[in-house]
Assembly symmetry: C2
DNA sequence: GTTGACCTTGCCGCAGCGTCAACGTTTCTA
DNA sequence: TAGAAACGTTGACGCTGCGGCAAGGTCAAC
């Protein structure tokens, strides 16, 4: 048989056959006078075994191991490991499909947030925001979108355990009567401070309003938390007045928490 | 932020961040005086979106598509396609695990055939052979192992539909009373002809015995089927007498089938 | 001053082949 | 009998999503 014939017989490509030669999985057969490889039925038998093994999901080096040792002992280990691996993959895919299903539900309903895929809990919070915003006159404050971005970032940043606690606090806050309306007032007030200086007279009252919204347990451990690079980065595209509001609000909330 | 800081914040590696730059997924940020990349919070937000999307299983070019068009329309298509893809993968893996489970059962019972993984039906046939052989005195004829190899090859070679029919015929044949014993007599007789010439006196009776075992529908369409290269390959390491037996048996079975 | 932890660009490697390229051989057809 | 189509040969690059290493430059701390 020539290479095309054996490949067609076994149901693989000639390229794969040569690849197996290259890897030493299949010994090079004798050559004809013209240099063509000349295969026998035994090669086909071997190739068929290789194909069956690879179709199970074994890597080519594992195939080589299995073909090499006739112990019949090691193959059990390889197969068990492979099965465990496949089981893990199945679970992973299942989890992904679950998240995907939620996202697809949002996306189909036209409620795919611009922030990209987020957890169900956060998606619900964003939905509440959308409803609250729709009930208010005028366009949504830019700061609201910024806040959602920050929350989406926060969600991917914090570890799992803390994430649930944090999300819980947020949703609890959002469910408080009138909280959404007050939040949107703060957003609007912050928008109004987009070009203001740090000593603007509106800073203090906006900070108080913001502090009134913050749950105690989403406040960082100390007000010094936003002083290092994280602070400069965090406020990178805030106006001086906006930054001042946030700093002041955190300080107020922190003092309140300390009492 | 420097690259290590943003990478740590978002939970990816610096290498990945640079990779995203290279692919144009994430715009290169400004550089500091020393050449270091200087990231902002917006970059972190973007990176977090990228991470969430890749964790869903999107490829990086799909991520780029999703990030690029704000239509919100295309993302539904991408997600649906992805979900369908994942569903297909799950089914594939499930099928593989099923086959693997059968194999593991065989392997754990020490009944892993030397021919490698085969279908449950063929495995059962091989099991019958093993039992029949164990009940007979002496070692198993080499031709029996050769036959199993051929059957395993045949199984991977023929298309699905025909495979089931063929396996059915084989198992029916194997269940006929005394068939296994007669088969092993033929194997032994063929072994005995390993060095014999084509005109050996034992050829005719062995061929008759073999023909008596063959179901009509596993006989090739015509006896000419084994005359081309497939014949020379098929008989490549048969002795002249063994080849003669098979040819004669096929002819007998074919004539019988024609009547 | 020197260590150690950063940063820079750039290139190789991975699995399992697909896909040219550039060329020789065989076989079918006009 | 010539030419084209369909095979074969070796060799090399491409794909995904980065990891890892090399050979430096930079910065803060001891």
């Amino acid at each position: 048989m020539r290479i095309g014939e054996i490949a067609g017989l076994v149901g693989i490509t000639t390229r794969a056959v040569r690849h197996y030669h290259h890897l030493g999985l299949l010994p090079e057969p004798r050559r004809r006078a013209n240099g063509y490889r000349d295969y026998t039925l035994r090669d086909a038998v071997l190739l068929a075994r290789i194909r069956r093994l690879t179709e199970l999901g074994l890597g080519l080096d594992e195939v080589r191991d299995v073909l090499a040792d006739d112990a019949g002992r090691e193959i059990v280990d390889v197969l068990e490991e492979l099965d465990a691996d496949l089981a893990r993959q199945q679970e992973e895919i299942g989890a992904r499909r679950e998240r995907l299903g939620v996202l697809l539900g949002q996306a189909r309903a036209g409620r795919m947030p611009a922030e990209g895929p987020v957890s169900p809990g956060l998606a619900e919070l964003f939905g509440d925001m959308a409803r609250a915003s729709a009930a208010l006159p005028g366009p949504e404050p830019a700061m609201a979108a910024r806040d959602r971005e920050m929350l989406a970032l926060l969600e991917t940043v914090v570890p799992e355990a803390e994430r649930d606690r944090l999300l819980g606090s947020l949703r609890e806050m959002a469910r408080a009567p009138g909280a959404m309306e007050r939040a949107y007032e703060v957003y609007a007030a912050l928008d109004a401070l987009a070009d203001a200086a740090a000593d603007d007279v509106r800073v203090e009252e906006t900070a108080r309003a913001l502090a009134g919204l913050l749950p105690d347990d989403v406040v960082p451990d100390g007000p010094g938390d936003l002083d290092g690079w994280s602070g400069t980065v965090f406020f990178a595209d805030f106006s001086a007045a906006q930054a001042a509001v946030v700093r002041r609000a955190l300080r107020i909330a922190h003092e309140r928490g300390a009492r």
